[in-house]
Amino acid sequence: MRRIRGISAIAFAGIAALTLSACQQGSANRDDDATDGGPVTLQFQSLSDQPTTQAAIKEIVDAWNAENDDVQVEIIQAGWDGTYDKLITQFTGGTAPDIIHFEASSIASFAADGYLADLTDLIDPALKSDISEGIWDSVTHDGQIIAYPSTLQSYMAFANVDLLEEAGIEVPQDGTLTWDQLRDMAKKATKDGQYGLGWGLGSPTSTIMSLALGFDGGFFEGEGEDVTIDVGDPELAVVDRIHEMAYTDKSVDPTSLTQSGSDVLASFYGGKIAMTVQGSFQATNIANDAPDGFDWVALPPIEGSAGAFQSANPQTYSVNIDSEHVEESADFLNFFMNSENLAKIAYADALIPSSGGARAEVETLAADNPAWTQVLASGDGLVGPPFLKVSKYTEWKDTVATPAFQQFLADQISRDELAKQLTDGWADVAG
């Protein structure tokens, strides 16, 4: 009995010690600085998940901290998953960090709610002129620039050279790749047990809406709450073509239409599909993961009737409007976004940098991977899409567009029914 009491006492003491140590607040919970004349500490919430990118960001921040004793930057590493919910809670609770890493489509609602600082007059003029208007447009709300656009992705076609050559197809490497060319190549490369194209469209909305810009298919007109939807031939041009390739030509692997882009890569490496459309960042993954001797290329940017346009939905760096150090945060971001730094981050993440200077740097860094030439070329067609300005876009995308596109791509509903669901669904969401 005495032994049991002894064990209980030790256990109780242990739990009490654990409880007490659990009371300590984390480092991200700061006391206000600078009021006592000390250096300003900026909290920088970074979502970068690749070890190489994390290392690049740390290197940049360390370089800044070494040069700026009075403004120190502290990285708070977070992940992409659940970030929207975390940020909305932080903003509401007044504990959001000074500098916020996210993406253009997701910060639109934060901008609408007035949580992000206007950076229009704080951005380095040289940087401003080095990034295209189309990309700046993706981070402009009500005439205010609310973020620095950093890196972007496009959708690219990658091809197994051996399979295309076996099918007697000359692999295009210059200019652009039209949809008719892509369809023709996929048809020719399809034979028993092998499809011409594999396309991971399990979550199809972003891809379809991005590529629809190549046909001038914008879906939405207006900004904020005052928005109308138009689902006509230009908007449905991409999904129509994919549907025809899958069910008329039978040149698209139907299984791939239900998978993620990464899932389809196994079939690509295994020679079950001759081409695959993927996010441009996969150029680096394919280079690293493809089997030895696998001969592959990135095809030129995909061009619709209006041009090789796709939506620019860049990763962004914003400043919390309630930060006591908005100007210092912008100063840091001007440094963070210089060509050399941005190129390091873009190269590590295998994404397209937003500025011309950084793209030139990446070309040098990626000289040993020829796919990067096409990846960077596709960046020229990235423009701010109308949906980025639509307050209820995310809700419409998740509850209406994605299930409707999925049903159409599974050949369960007609084209007219798809257009009706997209239009009526918007009316319901917009109220």
């Binding site: 654990l18 140590s21 607040q25 991200a28 070890p51 919910d85 490496y269 079950k272 993961d289």
Partner: protein, 279 residues
Amino acid sequence: MNARRPWYGTGLMYVALAAYLIFLGFPLLWLLSASFKSTRELNSLAVNLIPQNWDFSNYTAALERQNLITAAGNSIMVALVTMVITVLLSMPMAYALARLKGRLRAAGTVWILVSQVFPTILIIIPLFLVLRSLQLNDTLFGLILVYVTFTMPFTLWMLQGYVAAIPPELEEAAEMDGAGRFTILRTVILPLLAPGLVATAMFTFVSAWNEFFLALVLLQSPELYTLPIALRSFLGAEGQTQLGPLAAGAILATIPSLIIFGILQKKLTGGMLAGAVKG
């Protein structure tokens, strides 16, 4: 009874049991296999449970890259303290709910049921504001308090069922022998309630161990992250998943949970059988 059961009945039972075990265990085996495969092998079309080339780099990557050990320490602390506090608080409360009569009991029962209705997402912002005003945001103790609050209704409901199953006559007999309420609780109820307490403890531990969303929102400092947050950071933007390190991290994350289960399971069965053969 067993003598009357035909041989094929027993055989079918074992087949069903084996099928169920495979159904439950195969995903874990696949996870274990994936944790030893290289990215190249994971991206191939080959379906093989035994890796072609054993690759241990996923484990080093998991341990080095996402502060997995710190996160495991945080998770163990949070889950253990949540478990102990919940069990300590639930026991007398469940006894009161099961034994006491009147309006208070009815109100308590209704409140337990009502508290289960609200989805977490609905109350996360008010909860965050309350914790901030108590200076408990971004602390593990704040998270523990929230976990205790969230698991308590269910554990109370569970435990009061166990208490209700204990015959009141046992307490009356002890009372006639001169035992007070506390002595009865300690010497009569507690030993008989042991299986219920162990089941409650296991449920609480696992709930706190696996919880993601509240930890994600309430903790802001990387050094306080729990295991589910650390593991989720292997999932990147655009659906990019570092599958090998994620599988290795997930395997490592199950080890403490398995140890706790191993310890508590013995107590669970031991408690259930205690006194069963006495007249």
